[in-house]
Amino acid sequence: MTLHLRHQIDVSLDRRGVFHRRDFLRGISAASIAAGTLSWRDVVSLQAADLTKRGRACIFLWMQGGPSHFETFSPKPGHANGGETKAISTSVAGIEVSENFPEFAKVMHEAAIIRSMTSKEGSHPRATYLMHTGYLPTASVKYPAFGSIVAQQLPRPELELPAFVRIGNNSRDGAGGGLLGIEFDPFAMPEAGKLPTNTTPATDFTRYDRRLGLLGRLDASYAGHGGQQEVAEHQKLYQKAARMIKSSQMKTFELDGEPDSVRAAYGDSQFGRSCLLARRLVETGIPCVEIVVNGWDTHFDNFPRVKEMAGQIDQPFAALIADLKQRGMLDSTLVVWTGEFGRTPKINPRAGRDHYPKAFNTVVAGGGVRGGQVIGRTDAGGGEVEDRPVTVNDLLQTFCKSLQIDSKIENIAPNGRPIKIVDGGQPVDELFA
């Protein structure tokens, strides 16, 4: 918690140009750190935690590989580029999606499709990084993932779990805390439905506490021999980790307590369990959850493969939106479905589609977004954005608007460079109208 709070404070102080972290540490006596008497920090943090932001959260459904817009939410039946994929009607008159998303079609009135996403990055790692951070990778600055920004900007003092959880194996680098520090890294868990790695205590709690007590006493001896600052940080981290694994909030990770009807609605699949867990985590107070789904890189056999991928996604995605709505959480929870780019309009000789950043689609729901609308348009062939282009930074600005995060806030990179949360771009205001 303290590591987390310290960044909160640093950032605001940096912006006023008063303090850097180091000065800050120098400015308070080592003794007060060791003694743990830093309650004034908590006061500052509580003031920083704007009450209206308290319930805000986001769930990113990250479709790694670049899902084809033709076979998801921008079908082009009747055009050669559209291939065999048919369009179906949705709960909103006049809006059609691909036949691969029948369940999503039923909740279309809660969601908005952006059909005019456009970018220049056609390589997986660079585009993935760009979509996660709003910046291209550089050697000099490690940009934070947007989820890390959310964890930093929407602090939850009462939360005993990590503030940014990433579910699923991400073979690509979706970026982490970057310059914000590893305390804002996503807490990664390969799959939902069981406790995260290393959270099962090595012993029973009585012995665990006894061990922690012994550790504290032995550490105190080192603190007295030149290591007070290191010991203070270490002890706080251990307290936080111990608080987490002993917390009743750990039950959030277990899905057994959910009624059968709810579990059935999400479906008995990896992605279904991940979506259900995401809802539970947000309910517990976690401001950002990312779910990673691999397999959208359909250079060959595009049509059956996207159908199969969509088959995994469709029902849980729709169930998540409906469940959040039913619980009154949808207004404050932004749900985003996106990949790093789209796919070529022309179908290649292997019945596949290749990388295509120039036009792709993203779905957003909740978090103040008015459902039942489509933003932008591609041309008849699906290759050119014809109306209302939305860049990656526009999209990130939109997330900030939904989450009430000031995108102009600057974090300071280790080389002293100020880095805006989002540099450039405009939110898609129509989404909120």
């Binding site: 890294d185 061990r211 550490d219 981290l237 936080k240």
Partner: protein
């Protein structure tokens, strides 16, 4: 001490005298200034620059660290492994006045010395990679640098190999910096300047540098040494894929539409107002000295030339950048911080000391081991540690605790658990597959605990997954089990009957020192209160492995 330690001690002492003799021989023929005299000079200069005795009360230098603290520090620093209990015993029994020097010599001669610093530089390079596929070169650069550091170890030669590298990245480790930046001229330029000169000239890539004197043109003139590098996929039988760094001296037919100027054999500085245009043709000029080449030179000639200019002894940047970084690693604070930002408009805390070291390092022909000998012999290095930012304390009046890098921590864990490092066969397999390397026990510890060595150390914080790994990790906790006769603790519980001797042994294994009386009392009382001896010592060992001191070198 137990008798088997004593036997090993005798052998160690015999070895020790052999090393001592070798030391004398070596000093006589060394190219650089005598390391010990250089170290004395450094301490005097530091004192003159305000970091010595007799200033005001706040700046009283810390006392000289005791032998055990010194030995763990220097072993972790030089070879990345903690000393074994036998090393410690041998060292404690050595009464010679030059025992710290001989310990350093012994460590410099170990295979692990090269490996440790190879891994360090791998991290320096790879933490700034622009794409994940660059991880393929990780094992190759470690083996390349291990050989270099264990061989002649001249930093200028190593730098020239990095700057001029070509070939398959799985065979040529020197391709690492270029591969990590995907061969892109601007990014490669930025890294070469940062790593070898300590100058962050890439800030001038898009605008004139706000706080340094370099202009946008100068960055792009430096980039003009590197426009002819390309990264190509190497297709090999089966699934073995690699990449190679090649020179492209012929004009490429296909230009990248979205990146005007890319794919050319010359470098163009983009026009910020008209990014769609090719930009301005830049001639290769080395910004530090103004030395220049004509356009049209071949890739290898350009790179060889700029490598000569960068490593030239006529100019101090190259030597200063390396000395500053190594000093910061060893003494805990850099003359400049961050360590890779030492540009002409940055302030240096002790410029005369740095220049003295840099000049003599250059004079030793950039002998890496010479610099290690000098720094580890200074009082500045050998003092007790104080927390990094203790109020009112000047730098260099004490050493600073350093958080162990992933590899150092892994080496410490296997020493405690009494398990072997990966076998040469396993290593070869890992070298062939970076995913396997990352999934290995060492790889996982590196992923969880590693950090960018160039990052300011006060920015390097612990994380929840790290704590959880050490607290609850199943493999680790199986290794800490005392009721299994085949674990290290199980064996010790069987061999050592007396609790105080066992506490002492665990302290030596984990922290490379004996417990102080208060710690001994805490542990003995703890054992008494728990009753069950195995259980009590499992808890003690667990606490030591989870302690702050274990994670740091002080």
């Amino acid at each position: 001490m137990r008798c088997n330690s004593m036997i090993r001690t005798t052998t160690a002492l015999m070895l020790l005298s052999a090393v001592g003799a070798a030391l004398v021989g070596r000093s006589a023929s060394a190219a650089g200034l005598d390391p010990l005299s250089a170290a004395r000079q450094v301490d005097e200069l530091l004192a003159k620059e305000g970091f010595g005795a007799g200033q005001d009360a706040n700046e009283t230098p810390a006392a000289k660290a005791d032998d055990q603290t010194f030995l763990r520090r220097v072993a972790l620093d030089l070879i990345g492994h903690p000393p074994t209990p036998e090393d410690i015993t041998a060292y404690s029994l050595d009464t010679s006045e030059t025992k710290r020097l001989s310990a350093v010599e012994r460590l410099l001669a170990k295979r692990e010395f090269g490996e440790n610093w190879a891994r360090y530089w791998r991290d320096v390079i790879m933490y700034r990679r622009s794409e994940e596929r660059a991880l393929l070169v990780g094992p190759t650069v470690v083996s390349f640098l291990s050989d270099e550091f264990n061989g002649e170890a001249h930093w200028d030669k190593i730098a020239r190999k990095f700057i001029t590298a070509t070939g398959d990245i799985r065979e040529e480790g020197a391709t690492a910096i270029i591969m990590a930046q995907n061969g892109v001229a601007e990014d490669t330029t930025a890294e070469i300047s940062r790593i070898f000169l300590g100058i962050q000239i890439q800030c001038a890539q898009c605008h004139n540098h706000p706080t340094d004197r370099w202009k946008r043109e100068q960055f792009h003139e430096l980039a003009a040494f590197f426009p002819r590098i390309a990264v190509r996929a190497v297709k090999k039988d089966g699934d073995r894929r690699s990449f190679e760094i090649v020179s492209v001296d012929k004009e490429r037919k296909k230009k990248e539409k979205d990146k005007p100027g890319r794919g050319n054999t010359e470098h163009y500085m983009p026009d910020l107002q008209k990014p769609e245009e090719e930009g301005k043709l830049m001639r290769p000029v080395f910004f530090v000295t103004g030395q220049k080449l004509e356009s049209g030179e071949k890739d290898q000639d350009r790179r060889a030339q700029v490598a000569q200019w960068i490593t030239s002894r006529k100019d101090r940047w190259f030597a200063r950048a390396y000395v500053n970084r190594m000093w910061a690693e060893l003494v805990g604070r850099g003359f400049y911080e961050p360590v890779d930002d030492i540009g002409p408009d940055r302030s240096c805390s002790a410029p005369h000391t740095l220049d003295y070291l840099a000049d003599h390092f250059a004079g030793s022909q950039y002998d890496v081991k010479w610099l290690f000998r000098v720094i580890t012999a200074t009082d500045a290095y050998q003092r007790e540690s104080r927390s990094r930012y203790e109020e009112g304390k000047a730098p260099f009046t004490a050493n600073c605790p350093q958080r162990l890098r992933g590899d150092q921590l892994y080496n410490s864990l296997i020493a405690v658990l009494g398990i072997e490092d990966a076998s040469p066969k396993e290593r070869a397999k890992e070298a062939d597959n970076y995913r396997a390397a990352m999934a290995s026990p060492r790889g996982r510890v590196n992923v969880a605990f590693g950090y960018d060595p160039s990052a300011p150390r006060d920015e390097v914080a612990g994380s929840i997954p790290q704590a959880l790994f050490l607290m609850n990790g199943a493999e680790l906790n199986r290794g800490l089990n005392g009721r299994q006769p085949n674990t290290a603790l199980g064996k010790l519980l069987g061999e050592i009957d007396k609790n105080d001797a066992l506490v002492e042994e665990l302290y030596l294994r984990c922290l490379a020192r004996e417990p102080n009386p208060a710690e001994m009392e805490t542990c003995l009382e703890y054992a008494k209160s728990v009753g069950n001896r195995s259980e009590a010592f499992e808890d003690i060992l667990w606490s030591l492995v989870n302690s702050t001191e274990f994670l740091n070198r002080k």
